[in-house]
Amino acid sequence: MAEERPQRGRAGAIQIVIVALSSAIYAVLGIAGATFTVAPGGIVIFYLPAIFIYPAAIWFGAWGVLGAFFGTLLFSPFFGYGFALGLSFAVVDMISPTTVGLAQRALRVNPAVVTTRRDFILFAVAVIVGAAIEAVIGNGVLLVFGLTSVGGLPFSTFVWWTGEVTAGVILSPILLRVLTPQFKRMGLFHQSFFGTQRGARIIG
């Protein structure tokens, strides 16, 4: 494993690579997920990248969340958004993983969230709340850009929220369960959300 730099908050090579890999995975899943049904308002019913980004926020903290920013920017032309709208959604897409990553650390939830009922419930609540905030703001962006109508907002907000929650609550725990031990061994965990301190010692 490459040497970790002690500077707190300043990205070292490991953090740069984590962001790049998270972005690329997010983009690949975004493009693959574009084949899923889309609801009026341009919202995907099942948001495939959400499966990965919630665990990424738990494993890598803010460095994983940044994957949602760059990933959205990368797949935006293939999704039909273009870079200008993609930039807005890049910011919006960081809301729910940030909520989950911060909540996991604040509430000391075990990263392998399916280990106890308490951990799973706290994780699910964080996803539900984060996705709700993101859906409202994201649809606000669509409205500001004149891409959706005021009448269509409740429906598209609900579909956005559902797409995030189904992916996050049902499928993300599988990823956390399977890959948490592996990333623990590799020393890729980031102990604080915004820091660069890594190690096998994990919260929970």
Binding site: I16, I18, V19, P40, F52, F78, F83, L171
Partner: protein, 253 residues
């Protein structure tokens, strides 16, 4: 399989522009399209983008995946307007969508199409290295530019990994494409777990490669192999972009 690498090193005036000017040009098109709400102005901007694509000698085959995505999304946005907007007069006498809804749907569709075509134009006339240069010229921090470029470089290999994983699963009789929406969604996890595991095995190698090149050390000033020179035409494009955006924001045509 999708490809981000639609860039072709042709000798056209657009290819010859400074990367910052290319970025400014395409961003201007996107911003003015977002600012306008009139159908005729939107059609004019679309005509301008098509003219730029023609000037760049972009073949339709390379642009088609972008157009397909844009058309699909345009239809969906249009439906949103047509179904949920009740202002104005119905276009078919006493029933059907209103005239306001039809205009708004058309503008929304045009917005999506223009933004995607402008993005495709940028990718067609700008190489990855030039994109990095352009972003640097526009004062985007080097680390952010580098991360974006690194993820761009990783995209094809990860896409290939995902394709290999899916093919391997299908060889074992796993049906990924069949079944209901819920079944397909549930099965997608079987591809994501190995993809993430494989991808993050590269962390160590990539990080070591960066560190061995003294990446992101404090107090080090980065120099570049290629000299980034702004010619008169580039300055004209940059100044013109600023003026056009300012005019659209003030006048709001």
């Amino acid at each position: 399989m999708f490809t981000y690498a639609i860039y072709q090193p042709l000798k056209t005036p657009l290819h010859g522009l400074n990367p910052a000017a290319k970025l400014a040009l395409t961003l201007t098109v996107m911003i003015v399209m977002l600012v306008t709400s009139r159908l005729l102005v939107g059609l004019g901007i679309l005509a301008a983008v098509v003219a730029l694509l023609t000037a760049a000698r972009a073949p339709l085959g390379r642009i088609f995946p972008f157009v397909r995505a844009a058309l699909a999304l345009s239809v969906i946005f249009a439906i949103s307007w047509l179904v949920f907007t009740h202002d104005g007069r119905p276009v078919f006498g006493s029933w059907g969508p209103t005239d306001h809804a039809v205009t708004a749907a058309a503008v929304a569709g045009l917005r999506v199409l223009v933004m995607v075509l402008a993005s495709a134009l940028l990718l067609f006339i700008t190489s990855e290295t030039e994109l990095l240069q352009g972003l640097r010229r526009l004062r985007v921090p080097y680390v952010a530019c580098f991360t974006l470029m690194l993820s761009l470089r990783l995209l094809p290999s990860l896409t290939e990994d995902l394709a290999v994983i899916r093919q391997a699963q299908m060889c074992r009789g796993f049906e990924l494409q069949r079944g209901s929406f819920i079944e397909r969604a549930r099965r997608s996890i079987t591809g994501i777990v190995p993809l993430v595991a494989i991808a993050f095995r590269r962390v160590d190698t990539l990080a070591r490669a960066l560190e061995s090149r003294a990446f992101n050390l404090r107090g080090m000033h980065r120099t570049t192999y290629r000299e980034d020179v702004l010619r008169v035409i580039d300055r004209v494009v940059l100044a013109g972009s600023v003026l056009i955006i300012a005019a659209f924001v003030i006048v709001r045509p």
